[in-house]
Amino acid sequence: MKISKGLTILAFILLAIYLFPFFMMLVNSVQPEKDIVASKIIPSEILFSNYGKILEQGQIGRWFINSVVVSVSATVMVIVMSVFAAYSLGRMMFPGRKLLNIVVLTGITIPIQAIMIPLFLQMKDFGFINTYWGLILPAPFAPMCVFILANFFREIPNAYDEAARMDGASHLTIMWRIITPMSLPAVASIAILNFTWTWNYYLWPLIIATTDTMYTLPVGLATLAGSETNIRYGPIMAANIMASIPVIVLFIIFQKNLMQGVSAGSGVK
């Protein structure tokens, strides 16, 4: 196909407009407050004191650690569960497989909002309110990850494990030595998706974390910004940037996996 310069330029212009708010957030985070109040787009000076200010305010360091702990452990847990479950659903024949497939799909369909009240009560019975357990264990995105991975496993030709089984390999060996290594891009994409979703998750942490020491970044930042402690916009935008850095870095490295995962999870391949 012939490349059209005009359309490429059009796409550039649209993208520039589209990302302008993002750019503004970056600028605001290194601007003195007087520039923000004057709604200046080009900063009169660039300074990083906003970052220092927000680190002094509140417990952003603690929230950052909480977010890391929660997102990393939830993601590790979900990957292990998903590989096993996806292998059984995608590569083994057994009675009830269809039913379990439907169960997984139903799990994706039931929205957390419809069950958050009983889930909270249950966590209260377990004594998990305001704990890492309460933040990590519900793993709300696990069904989606199983779904994506099982679909991927299913498409690997049978010849691979048949040959291995001839040589006497067990299912466990086939799973870890053949199927999973072959599916690394898919495993990576569910890992990234689950991490990003957990990192950004707002509703459940808002419910289950009841004191500010257990907040994750999204909950903490929202509370901080909404509080009456007279925090300026500059430091808030600096906090926004800090909270976004991990997902942006992951996105830059793994964007291909992430987008494949998104399309696969929605049923468009």
Partner: protein, 293 residues
């Protein structure tokens, strides 16, 4: 020998499924079962539950706040779904046309979507600020008077909707783009030979061939929009005067601010029925049509 092998195989399959299955049962199925009857109880979290039949539902249907929250939720959905679907489709078409750096553009348009709901809400809260927000600065170029976007009953919800469209557009672009890229080039080549121009190719090939993607995107978008909570809660707190309070926020407030668990669950049941309706529509629409190539 074969039988035992098979049996062992089955056991192994169940064992593999077990870790996930256990989590799933505890944190999804049990709460779900409990959600089915909790709405018939009066239960502030500290006392013991008391069965009151349909009373929660009577109260709910007699409460203006509930109907308002329901309407705000639908209003938000109406404001967001059409632009998200149409603009998402158009940008996907643009990215699929004869342009350079497709990967770069695809990633660029996706960036806002990886930000958290808190981050985008706080950044748009600043942009919509009446006195020094950038939005009023831009509209003032066109001679429009300053608007207090998030504190004006007329503009608050559209402003939240606008921020949301900006936030999630990239998701739809990706879905459309990957569907469009699957259409074989030969279709377009054949049409071009027959003298079809690019507009005709778009209308007669691209649009109909990805019909199931249209349905998927629209339904997913409706599902996501109906779940609206965080943006509103952070940007307006449901205000001004409750004019942006949505269904999920109403559930949240009754459950976790006023601890009326039964009442909140009755509300959540209504929410679930709406979502179920959408899901059923999805299954019926999607099963009717396959991708036609």
């Amino acid at each position: 020998m074969i039988v035992t092998n098979k049996k062992r195989n089955n056991t192994l399959a169940y064992l593999f499924f077990l870790p996930f299955g256990l989590f799933f049962a505890i944190f999804k199925i049990f709460p779900f079962i409990r959600s089915l009857y909790l709405g018939f109880f009066k239960w502030d979290i500290f006392g013991s539950p008391e069965f009151i039949g349909l009373e929660n539902f009577y109260t709910l249907f007699g409460t203006d706040k509930f109907w308002e929250a329901l309407w705000h939720t639908f209003y938000f959905t109406i404001l967001t779904v059409p632009p998200l679907v149409i603009i998402g489709f158009l940008i996907a078409i643009l990215l699929n046309s004869k342009i350079k750096f497709v990967g770069f553009f695809r990633a660029g348009f996706y960036i806002p979507y990886i930000l958290s709901i808190t981050v985008i809400s706080l950044m748009w809260k600043l942009m919509f600020n009446e006195t020094f927000g950038i939005v009023n600065k831009i509209t003032s170029i066109f001679g429009i008077e300053s608007i207090n976007w998030l504190n004006d009953p007329t503009f608050a919800m559209p402003a939240v909707a606008f921020a949301t469209i900006w936030w999630t557009l990239g998701f739809n672009i990706i879905l459309y783009l990957s569907a469009i890229q699957q259409i074989p080039d030969s279709y377009y080549e054949a049409a071009t030979l027959d003298g079809a121009n690019s507009w005709q190719r778009l209308i007669h090939i691209t649009v109909p061939l990805i019909k199931s993607t249209h349905i998927l995107v629209i339904i997913l978008q409706i599902i996501y929009s109906l779940q609206i909570f965080g943006q509103v809660y952070i940007m307006t707190g449901g205000g001004p005067g409750g004019t942006t309070r949505t269904l999920v926020q109403y559930i949240y407030e009754n459950g976790f601010k006023y601890f009326k668990m039964g009442y909140a669950q009755a509300n959540a049941a209504i929410f679930f029925l709406i979502m179920l309706g959408v899901a059923i529509a999805q299954v019926r629409l999607m099963s009717k049509r396959g991708e036609g190539y």
